[in-house]
Symmetry: C2
Subunit: 207 residues, 2 copies
Amino acid sequence: MADADSPYHHGNLREALLARAEAVLATTGADSLSLRALARDLGVSHAAPGRHFRDRQALLDALAVGGFTRLNEGLRAAVEEPGPVTARLAGMGRAYIEFAVANAPLLSLMFTVKHADDSSTELRELGHQSLRIAAGLIALAQQEGVVRAGEPDRLAQVAFSTVHGLAALAVGSLLEDTPLAEATDLALDVLLTGLAAPRGDAARPGA
Amino acid sequence: MADADSPYHHGNLREALLARAEAVLATTGADSLSLRALARDLGVSHAAPGRHFRDRQALLDALAVGGFTRLNEGLRAAVEEPGPVTARLAGMGRAYIEFAVANAPLLSLMFTVKHADDSSTELRELGHQSLRIAAGLIALAQQEGVVRAGEPDRLAQVAFSTVHGLAALAVGSLLEDTPLAEATDLALDVLLTGLAAPRGDAARPGA
DNA sequence: CAAACATTGTTGTCAATGACAACATCGAGC
DNA sequence: GCTCGATGTTGTCATTGACAACAATGTTTG
């Protein structure tokens, strides 16, 4: 079985497993992700993955952690864009939706609840981190008077809901023939209008 | 093996399988749903479910169809409530979120994409039906001048996104200590404010 | 330097599962 | 009352996740 060029130790199996797993996840979905198949793909024995991931769920959890990490990087990048705060809010929404539709099965893992208790804690924390990033930008928008008063955390939950839900619709083919970009524009316009300061002087979000 | 009281034909196996499957789904999740375990629970042989569902996915699809059917009934009921149209819109949102959090694993099945092609068509149609119900109420609200102009279908997508996303957050334990009812109120207020007619005379949705 | 030790990988095995095939039983309609 | 389709049963197979026992490698330390 062992080719001449296969050293006994792979050297980087954990990372290789994660990389390959993410590829499989993106193409054929989480259900068809088999530890043994991964091992075959990487040319190691069927039990080798067990050294790095206690069980299948542990692998999925690790993938989810990676997903949140990348997502949060993207959100933070959107926060630091130049430009008016409402534009940055919209940009964050777009960044979220782009990530979500480009990584739909991964996102599903990230939000699926069946994680083991320990990694569940880590994942929840990462999710809260996403929300906190949004809340930070919202708080800034409040200071500028373009977003209504209220707990930034809670307003961030609403904003998050909108974009997360829209991504779910898109992935589930429920947008019919509406182009995602148009649906996104409309959703962000409704959201930002709803979040805007009650009346009068506030900058209008859309244009 | 065969007890005296077990007739050769179960008589209602398909429905029994669905009922038991939904119970298992609600308690231990879709992953732990095994055709063989269902068969055991119902006292039939391990291959009996195969007579009613081509494969495991077909069972899951049937569950999803049932879920959409019940959901749409609930949405239609909300449409037919008495009262002002904005209140009915909010009621529909609440109905959706209640259903979603009370049937989280089922909802996940309903929106998960891995269905076989044929039932996928049926499920997509049922999902569109949900959207159309919302669109109908939105169109009515437009006639009354309390919702902005625009394709009702597209505005319905936005409304759907908001409540679907909020439900996802709730199920994923991302609302921290925010009570779901409060998050719902805020989300619906933001949504209906954003959907409201641009300015001036329109009835204000929140209060 | 060599000997313990931890890490990582391997082979072997087991029970559970989904899927299928071949056969059995039942009921409905000719 | 016979045939046939629907429904259930037994038997079997390959795949899988999980675990145990063992092997090879790298690391620490006496």
